[in-house]
Symmetry: D2
Subunit: 361 residues, 4 copies
């Protein structure tokens, strides 16, 4: 059991604080012989990197990853490959701006983990949120890039499907659109509306929530396991472990509660010699095991807790006070959660691929 | 890593199939010296037991639990106590009605795990769903009763808050009402409406979904851990591992996506020398760690997949066919999921209590 | 982490006390489709069963195993097979002779776990040693029988190679001899000497130690892993977890300390297209990974602590006293440890087979 | 399950190859509020560091450790303390001498893990042994230094008690002597003999084995657990995971096999209000749980496999050849295993301290 490790056979152990010298992770259990270079990882980190538009925090971090172990370039082989030993990925922190931490040291910011870390540990590294900072998700994205290479037949894609109360129109869905706007919106029309909306939020010093949808195509039927090794159970844990996530659903999710049995259970027909489902309310998972359909997960991200408006709170010494949070923040953390959700999906699937192979061959 | 074990320090390993000789679990890691008798467990099992109203399956199972190990009655002490060694809880199956399994053997029932188990293992115990049957949750409820005794200061309660599209009115909430109706509804008015609604569903041979809400009061601030040992992460996994659950949310959950930062972040004030939050959108968890507020989790349960209406499917041999599922079924499995949700909450909290004590003392 | 679970992917969780109603285990992670019946298990249990000669305890336990879950006999297949779900193996206790436990309740027997269990838990089930009884090893033998079926190409055999100070002569080694004498001796001559020696020990109410050697043939090169997943590390843990074991060595073991580098490192030559080692000081493991040679492990078993001679001890209340242990005991517990050592070898190898398959395919 | 992680609650995950850019580890589960600086760690690393006498390899590595996360210096507290989050310890490799690896690339060195790594992974990082190098133990020593701070009441000390066939005389034992000679010998006389002996071994281009004894004083009764959480089981795994170790024993160990029950079971008397054992054949552990006596473990280290004498082997392509290993090597790796054995003892005990506290409080 480890509080900072995710996964069972394909495992990531992360370390590092927001304002410490470095962040990173050790990826253990990776199969040998997989080509892996910094280029395979950096692209995903760049998608999560702050400061790329006016809609994310202006902290400047290149998030340049180094591979410190677990790969080897034989003088007779073509390129660097994994050796089956731990892959250490390190990202140095660059822009840990020196500032006055007095206020944050002494006051618990509403919505943040300040009070709970203090209650648990009796102390906390308050610089930039320390270990509770979303900066930790850079390590996830790096590890997720390795995970993708373990399951090359699987395509993992995520998109923002709701910002504040504004949802995309699924009829407009275009995966190609996702990288044409600063919101990872699959709906160009929604993106245009969000731009205006988020500018308003940002200028008001406020923030908003979001919903992210992540999909995996190409997962064969049979991954996952009963009854505490369920694929959906692990996906729920994976997504809920991301900062600010407050809800997770698979397939139809909460909407299924209002369905009748006839509406909900996906009918099956043979097509081209393979089972095909006539709908996907199950989100690709039945009894905790993949059905061969697309795996579809959605997660709700709460609004950034750091806002300009003054809020009631208490000091670490237990007196009433108020606080407003200035400085660099994402007005909608859901945006940068999109590549993180993809990474967590990849990590869960790579793990379950190995788990399935272990038991069934 | 174990597919049939839940928990890290307070652990439950379950075994058994729906139509095998017995179900049960081994509870490991329980602290010593805790009074524990069959009476502490049986009451919770009775709440989950089938056949108690016309709204649940008519299978007749007494679900009588036996404690086969891990407790000891010293001749000088008052009653039987845990010894710190594995507690084996066994429930014999009584009503595994002999029937013709030919249809279920050869056809994959839509919405069930038939196809996926077959895809994974190349074979399956199709009698009553085998290991994928919700009957496995009896073992959870038994283990959950032990977990409650590990955290006596915590009160865990669950209720059905939505049946089909019909929600309770939170203004009518009365915990005392929950055991006055066959639906675990906290709202007497909603219960009356549901009775009529579910009778219609049942007579039509159909089924409906539901939403369950489970609450834990009395959890001190500080349980849980960053970043893959988060309390909400483990609760999400716990609930998503329950049969038919398709969504989980903490506190405001998906509604938080539409909140502004001002609305969402719970303000804090000192009251009676302790921090008190002025709202609980966080559901009692910040940064994965309990805040001292009530922990609030909701889960969406899909409609029972076994319905009378004929549905399109395929055979195990890959030909198109149709199926309708006769026999004993719950028209709304969400009802009997209520005591299961309580049990999973208890298991997660007992585990985190021990994990917290390990690291922090 | 579980105190009563052994293994990572092929896992056994045991439960039960010496004088409780039943002992047993849940085997999780077993591949599906393996033929498994009670007959596959009972033979190994019979080898470990007490009361088979005057050289083991006279407790009468049939040790009849039942399989309560995890297997299925399809009406179209030949025999019962594993389904990939937890296999529950139960052995009911029959001869928990009712007796007066007053002395054992109040005094700590030297060499036993009485004092340490009391120190840890503040109480203990003192009937027959409770959970610390070697009776727990029956569950290991049952699980080990399942493990053997997971690795059918591997032959696991153990023998007693030393009783008291009396060692076998390796020149006389004959595996066929092992089941011709009540000591599992591979050396008929040694067996004859031991018979006389152990009769003397037994009649004196004393006891003696032993050394067990266990060998696995047919393990392919490549099982095991660096650096905390080493095959020898897990074998050391497996053997040291057996009651009364005080030492474990692989290959040359402690003798290697006195070797020169030239003597120790096994030279290699190709034979019949495969690497062959010219000696096996490594015991079949290099860098924690199997080399394809026989895996050879030895373990030292201390003398039974229950002896007739009066010994100095203290009471649970902390006063000086004396104790001598009457009743049914093995004069040399090393004998019945032989099938247990085989079982632990099988469990470790089945686990590593799955672990290897997970990572490397 | 992780191949590169050691421990359950106090956990170390190591990474890095002998000739890669860096080695290190992530320590997870450490309690918060413990003072920890580089100075607490560096001293132990210096004891293990190569190149300190003519009796160890001449590779020049400063082994300077950096703490990259998990500690925090509050502006109001005295010194840097642990925060309860992962502690990343990094040691950069400095002296990865560039050399011609052709021979080692193409030939399997007898006694090394070359053949087995190749068999497992289909490739290997052959530079300096890659991940199989004893250089990995630097990370253990660093993590062990943190572990010691978690159990400040426990004193852990190790010594070399046998070099080649030459044993120390326990009557000469003096812990103060251990750091007065380059062998960690507690017996000055033996150290003098070893000096001459090892000079001969070294000049001959040969190597020799050794036995290390490690002791922990101050461990209270009650740490450890039945039956697969035994303290001796975990110590056996810990020591066997160290490079070149081929045997582990607790207390009397293999000698206990030749004892009678009367000789072996340690008698007990009250002294100063506490239980005291009149001997310590058990090595401080009964039934897997500490008894309050000194914990005593010995491990056998095989001779360094790298020797000048030409030995028969095969190439990676499967043809017969010969090899002799030139370059920098320890003639007796047992010497530098002494601080490593201490570290592993510390890691096991810190883990069991937390495990005990979790279950029993």
């Amino acid at each position: 059991m480890s509080h900072n490790t995710f996964g069972h056979l394909f495992r990531m152990t992360t370390f590092g604080e927001s304002h410490g010298p470095a962040m990173g992770c050790v990826v253990d259990g990776c199969p040998p012989g997989i080509k892996l270079s910094v280029d395979d990882i950096q692209g995903y980190l760049d998608k999560r990197r702050p400061g790329q538009s006016r809609f994310t925090t202006q902290r400047q971090e290149p998030d340049a990853v180094k591979i410190l172990s677990g790969v080897f370039q034989d003088d007779r082989t073509d390129g660097q490959v994994t050796t089956g030993t731990p892959i250490m990925l390190m990202i140095e922190n660059v822009d840990q701006r020196s500032k006055d931490y007095t206020e944050i040291r002494d006051k618990f910011r509403p919505g943040h983990a300040d009070l709970t870390y203090q209650a648990k540990y009796g102390l906390r590294d308050y610089r930039g949120g320390g270990r509770s900072s979303a900066r930790e998700t850079a390590a996830r994205v790096a590890a997720g890039a390795v995970a993708r290479k373990v399951i090359p037949g699987v395509t993992i894609r995520a998109a923002l499907v709701q910002m504040g109360a504004h949802k995309v129109d699924y009829k407009n869905w275009d995966w190609a659109e996702v990288h044409n706007n600063p919101f990872f919106s699959p709906d160009a029309k929604a993106a245009a509306q969000w731009e205006e909306y988020l500018d308003g939020v940002r200028k008001a010093g406020s923030s908003c929530g979001a919903v992210v949808e992540v999909t995996a195509s190409g997962v064969p039927a049979g991954w996952g396991a009963p009854v505490y090794g369920k694929l959906d159970q692990d996906l729920a844990a994976a997504m809920m472990s991301i900062n600010a996530v407050k809800g997770v659903e698979i397939g139809a999710g909460f909407a299924a509660a209002a369905f009748s049995g006839e509406q909900n259970a996906d009918e099956i027909r043979m097509r081209h010699g393979k089972p095909e489902f006539l709908s996907n309310h199950a989100g690709g998972i039945l009894g905790g095991i993949s059905s061969g359909q697309d795996i579809v997960v959605r997660m709700a991200v709460k609004p950034t807790s750091s806002i300009l408006t003054s809020r009631q709170t208490i000091t670490a010494q237990g007196t009433n006070t108020d606080i407003s949070t200035k400085g660099r923040h994402d007005p909608c953390v859901g945006i940068r959660a999109v590549p993180v959700a993809e990474a967590m999906m990849a990590l869960v699937l790579a793990d379950h691929f190995l788990r399935h192979r272990a038991q069934v061959g």
